[in-house]
């Protein structure tokens, strides 16, 4: 018998998709049944009261959560987000319902043993409800009380060898695709860079001093499986400098139907015979490919790494050998201004341990943004406000045609003294030798 009547939430379960309401009800029943004999450290009816509070919010058309607070673990400015219910007498199980962010491993590799240990801790000291994973990438634990936080932190760090993730005006938990561990497209070791940057910037991750949040994400290739170009302030995307490698026999194999295009990924329907002209060459966004009936050619200098041809014929086409990454800066969701994608800052950087080239760019950006950024302003907004040119200056990166999004529309050029031969000073006597008064 449910603790609270929830007709509005019940209706949500009638749709075609799996419902979070059903999940919470299931966990509520499980906690009451307690088949494992857990000595729950927070109220057993936390899930029931969560449903009750949510139903009330639906009835009232307004939230009953108070968000934010001073709660956290000692010395850390992030990783825990305080949440309180404004009707604690009616719903004591969720009087405190704090969120804990658990740092996810690079590429999100878990063993089932580790996941069970995580859940044993969370069943014991929290609600048992999780979000796998939050948008930043952390594994998110939903709902515990203040006295449990230090206990959770001790066990998490000592027994599970895992840290809290970032929140607030911190560096957020860096995220990467699985990279070279499984993927032949990866142009650098994303997990290694992710791990190195996480260790290097521990202080930034746990002790907030930025104007607002800052996210690193690392994609091994332009397929962008962690969507770093859209979701991170500092996006590193694998690329290559030389030519796409072509195995002409394998190309012919695709044309003859010996190999399934897209590695068989779209095989659930009959798409007809593979047509290399229609499905590869004509879809190249820069038109840099040609097919003469027997041979595929690529004008590599025109390629901008859309990955479509490689994805379609992975057995025949492969990323080049001179590999590294491009760095993009300033992507963000629409908070102050509208959403924006990252802008190319470094066209090519070698990505090799100890990653000093990448770290140098990051630290120059941070020094500038920490000084000049307004409160609650993402670095992408600082760049828009102060200009891309200013960012190039502070990072010491020379302007490059690849930084240009579109031809200039302003006919005026404002020179700086250092850009003009001889500067602004002139020798008037020399001048008068050539020009009468």
């Amino acid at each position: 018998m449910a603790k609270h009547k929830t007709p509005l939430l019940d209706q949500l379960e009638s749709g075609p998709w799996p419902s979070f309401v059903s999940d919470i009800k299931q966990e509520a029943e499980h906690r009451h049944a307690n088949p494992d004999g857990i000595e729950y450290q927070i109220p057993v009816d936390v899930c029931d009261d969560l449903l009750g509070l949510l139903e009330m919010s639906y009835e009232d058309g307004e939230t009953h959560w108070k968000h934010g607070g001073i709660v956290g673990v000692f010395g850390y400015g992030g990783g825990v987000i305080g949440r309180y219910c404004d009707q604690p007498q009616k719903f004591p199980g969720v009087a405190h319902f704090h969120t804990v962010r658990v740092a996810q491993p690079a590429g999100k590799y878990y063993s089932t043993e580790y996941l069970r240990k995580l859940m044993d801790l969370w069943d014991f000291r929290g609600s048992g409800l999780t979000n796998m994973h939050g948008a930043t990438g952390d594994l998110v634990w939903l709902g515990t009380t203040t006295p449990q936080l230090e206990e959770i932190f001790w066990t998490l760090t000592h027994d599970l060898n895992t840290d809290l993730g970032g929140s607030g005006s911190n560096l957020r938990t860096p995220a990467s695709c699985l990279g070279q561990s499984r993927c032949e497209y990866a142009c650098y070791d994303t997990q290694s860079l992710n791990y190195a940057m996480t260790l290097e910037y521990q202080d930034e991750l746990h002790r907030p001093a930025f104007p607002y949040k800052f996210k690193f994400k690392f994609d091994g290739c332009p397929n962008g499986c962690v969507a770093s170009i859209a979701r991170s302030d500092f996006s590193v995307i694998g690329t290559w400098k030389d030519d796409i490698k072509i195995d002409h026999d394998a190309v012919m194999g695709y044309v003859k139907g010996e190999f399934a295009p897209n590695a068989g990924a779209h095989s659930g329907r009959d798409w007809g015979k593979f047509d290399i002209e229609k499905e590869v060459v004509a879809l190249c966004p820069t038109g840099c490919m040609s097919w003469d009936g027997s041979k595929l050619s690529i004008d590599n200098k025109e390629c901008y790494r859309c990955m479509h041809c490689i994805n379609t014929m992975p057995r025949a086409l492969h990323i080049g050998d001179e590999r590294g990454a491009s760095i993009f800066v300033g992507a963000k969701a629409p908070i102050l201004d509208g959403a924006q994608m990252g802008s190319l800052l470094v066209p090519f950087v070698p990505v090799e341990d100890p990653y000093d080239e990448v770290k140098e760019v990051v630290e120059n950006l941070w020094d500038w943004w920490m000084e000049e950024g307004k409160n609650r302003e993402r670095i992408g907004e600082t760049i828009r406000r102060m200009s891309f040119q200013k960012m190039l200056e502070v990072t010491g990166i020379k302007a490059d045609p690849r930084h240009v999004q579109e031809p200039r529309t302003n006919p005026y050029i404002f020179w700086k003294e250092e850009d003009v031969t001889g500067g602004w000073e002139r020798d008037i006597n020399e001048f008068r030798k050539r020009h009468q008064r």
Binding site: G68, P211, M370
Partner: protein, 80 residues
Amino acid sequence: MAIDMSTAKQQVVDFCNSKSKTKFYFNDFLKVFPDEKARDVKKVLTALVQEEVLEFWSSGSTTMYGLKGAGKQAHSEGED
């Protein structure tokens, strides 16, 4: 950092006490030390957090600093 740590810490505490508000952005403290690098100012704030003089306040997306126990937050959360 040009000034010594204990002087800097006292400046931070004095600054917090001189304002009517109780929560401060990190940038607010940069104005207290206009000649110092942001990272050096952060070291002062971190030391004060470790000594439990300052505490963090987080909305989840933004983090602020305040004197421990100052303002309504501590009471409303039953933390005092």
